[in-house]
Subunit: 283 residues, 4 copies
Amino acid sequence: MKQDKTSKTGTSRRAFISNSGLLLAGTVLASSSATEVEASANAFMPASPEPPQELAALRGDLVTANHILFDQGVVDGYGHVSVRHPGNPNHFLISRWLAPDMVTDGDILEVDFDCKIVGTEKARLYSEVFMHGEIYRARPDVKSIVHTHAPAVILMGISGEPLMPMYQMTGYMGSGVSVFDIRKAVGMTNMLISDPVRAKALVQTLADKPAVLLRGHGGVVTGTSLAQAVGRSVYMRVNAELQVQALGKKLIFLAPEEAKLASDNDYPKDWDMWKRKVAAQRG
Amino acid sequence: MKQDKTSKTGTSRRAFISNSGLLLAGTVLASSSATEVEASANAFMPASPEPPQELAALRGDLVTANHILFDQGVVDGYGHVSVRHPGNPNHFLISRWLAPDMVTDGDILEVDFDCKIVGTEKARLYSEVFMHGEIYRARPDVKSIVHTHAPAVILMGISGEPLMPMYQMTGYMGSGVSVFDIRKAVGMTNMLISDPVRAKALVQTLADKPAVLLRGHGGVVTGTSLAQAVGRSVYMRVNAELQVQALGKKLIFLAPEEAKLASDNDYPKDWDMWKRKVAAQRG
Amino acid sequence: MKQDKTSKTGTSRRAFISNSGLLLAGTVLASSSATEVEASANAFMPASPEPPQELAALRGDLVTANHILFDQGVVDGYGHVSVRHPGNPNHFLISRWLAPDMVTDGDILEVDFDCKIVGTEKARLYSEVFMHGEIYRARPDVKSIVHTHAPAVILMGISGEPLMPMYQMTGYMGSGVSVFDIRKAVGMTNMLISDPVRAKALVQTLADKPAVLLRGHGGVVTGTSLAQAVGRSVYMRVNAELQVQALGKKLIFLAPEEAKLASDNDYPKDWDMWKRKVAAQRG
Amino acid sequence: MKQDKTSKTGTSRRAFISNSGLLLAGTVLASSSATEVEASANAFMPASPEPPQELAALRGDLVTANHILFDQGVVDGYGHVSVRHPGNPNHFLISRWLAPDMVTDGDILEVDFDCKIVGTEKARLYSEVFMHGEIYRARPDVKSIVHTHAPAVILMGISGEPLMPMYQMTGYMGSGVSVFDIRKAVGMTNMLISDPVRAKALVQTLADKPAVLLRGHGGVVTGTSLAQAVGRSVYMRVNAELQVQALGKKLIFLAPEEAKLASDNDYPKDWDMWKRKVAAQRG
């Protein structure tokens, strides 16, 4: 499918600031909703040094990951993906506030654990960017995070049955996928992880596991690489879609040891194929 | 997918009348069925004044909404969407009798609460246009209405189980989604809301809620904006598709207060993305 | 999606016979299977007279119907659609042996109730063409027939639960959709309606109803027009897909009178839209 | 959908060796995972003689089969298909390690039963290539093998209910589809058939049947031709998708004799249609 030109000009919708220090949030985009926040840029924090070529490649892969996640039904207009900065483990890369399928290279921002934009740019961030910051802060092993909105994952999270590994592609689930219930942590909310308190509570439930579900909302999947976090979130969707068809039935899941033996997977054949597919969609 | 030229010439299938007063219904289109009616134009009612640019933009968005609703599985060949006229709250805009995916700018009509076409145009209207007129008449807060034919919504309406908010995208359902049973209201029918009596009965069941299901037929979703009505109807479909997979099972729905806190949403990221997608489909 | 040139040259794979009388079956196509038969042409029966323009339009619509039925998931590589000849009620038009999505104008044949090809052409026919011949012979009210392979229809036919009208689009099912069990009629078979005896048994089960299911095989849908048979078979698929999601659950179906009031439908908006869609797919 | 150029240059990623004998595994591709192995080429075994034209056509069909299997949801990034060498029954053709949708003619290798590459080429093979070698060794009647990853097939394999023929397209299942449980055969593993011992155990469970499921993994389908193995695996997917919708329900399956009578099918109409479809996708 040919894409229109709108996405190519996404960058122009972001203000660049070339001559000043700390800034407060600027004008809110016309289409913004009340649940979204605009992050202030912190110009005192220069962007992390990194061999430009490697960083550029990773930014490109992050853009591709955004498109793959939409194409694969992991996210809809919502959900997001981030990757830890390769040159500064205290920073991560993530798109500004934008539907994943709309993300282009100019939309990728460098952000610190407090969710301040690094450098002189100013942009609106996802209201739930805090889940990324707090997970990266608490979990040095995590290199990439996907927040999924896959419908079947949502259903599993409210079904009262645990998400379990059905085949070798989801072996990583064998250590358990807990359900985070925001109401038990912070009371009545709009369900969003839109501040550090909620994000820290989520991190508690995630603990040292690779993934967690959010009751009435979606899920979070981590990985030791961008490709792993993407692949795991795709196969979490497939696994959930299968499991919801057999709610209340007794299935034979992977044994814990089988799951562990099958959990080291970067999904390399999928990544190559998915990359080609989304590239072809964009002509 | 490239579209053929038929849709571009849709306008030419509508008769324009430049020299006369009130007209009766003219020739019926070749493909018309017995359940459809042709509305007479009321040339004594001039089209409502409105800054031309704003109105043109809204008409364009209404055309886009028609395409999005088909692309998102909210409507098939049937179903429709309308928006209250921005310059005259007693009028609304809606396509003439046409499958939503076929609608072009020339097909948009201005209609009053009695479902008379405003201005000098003559065209066939949807047989169920009366549901729009009566809801706009009774509910000043409603700015846009979608009549959905999503299959899963139909199944929920005959399942005996209530449609309930499963996640924050459908928080607006938290106030309850009743089922309108046309048989109880007006007896045996062809199931269509094809006259003002049936439409008024539907309005009674809708009451002050944002949405209502129609037993054996579909559903109606309202919003305070076109984007909201569209977004709500898309996520009603997703929610229904999930819920039908768990009929008879106990699920954990949003608490009423959570639903309320999550219900103020115009789905801005989705709207931008959906708009780009249907634009790309049309080259 | 652009189609390759193969379909355009489909005609060249059919032998035309310009100088002889009755012929026996010729060479079998390389890809033929054991269950398919080659019909002999009966050159003594000249093609029925018909104003050429009207007939050409109907042949074009029949080609389009083949493509729509594949696009709408009513048929896969198998299944077929026919229409009674407008100039000779004892003949009907149907494609030669070919996947519906591959059919082009040159593949349409005129066939009599005994499934002899009319005119001087020679071609391989569907092995199940007899179901068309016998239904047209027994049911003068039937103008078009679709043999569906929609998976959900197959599941309904072996579920032990009756296919029932869930909404106004399938009102025509209100008079009942029986299941034809070929084993009870003619014993152990390959399940195909591949001779007149089986076809006549099927006609007995169809009786005066608009549709019938075939146990372990698919279904047959009739209509008073090509558009009606196509539309009914599409919505039979949708209805079956919904019903299989609620097997064993109590649903509220249309009342018989509601179904009857809703059953007169040629699906005109769908037909226009589906026609445009398959035309666009073929560039 | 237009494909990018990557697939066209797939061949260039494979090393050709023109001047030496037996070689050990060379450099592993950047994206390789720990579960994959690189096969050494055995230059002492010359490629089997075969009329070049017939072999070239079969290689082309094997490439097409790879694309069809992805397009039809039988494989994802994983799974594979092979065909016995027409000129040497002790060899078979299969793609090098690559997602099926990415395979091009230059990726097809000739391999012997011990999974040594025949000729002077060196390439990475699928880690599970051994299932092909051992089945061809044990089952002279088998001419083609598909390893499916279709999600519904996976669910059937862990459901505790047998996969059964629901209609004539899957009659070949009538002789029974066993479930191979790798744990019972060789203990705790990563679930993969990645050595000859596991493959021989799989062959024991397959026995003389056309297909077998792999618990927590997928399935294997054989055929007397490439088209038959492909067609059977496609309809196994459809049949499984239907059966999982009715888990725990009593369905009417084909009688064993019906299944047998319906099992001789090369799916010729499907093959032609699927071939055209994937060709059109590649422009």
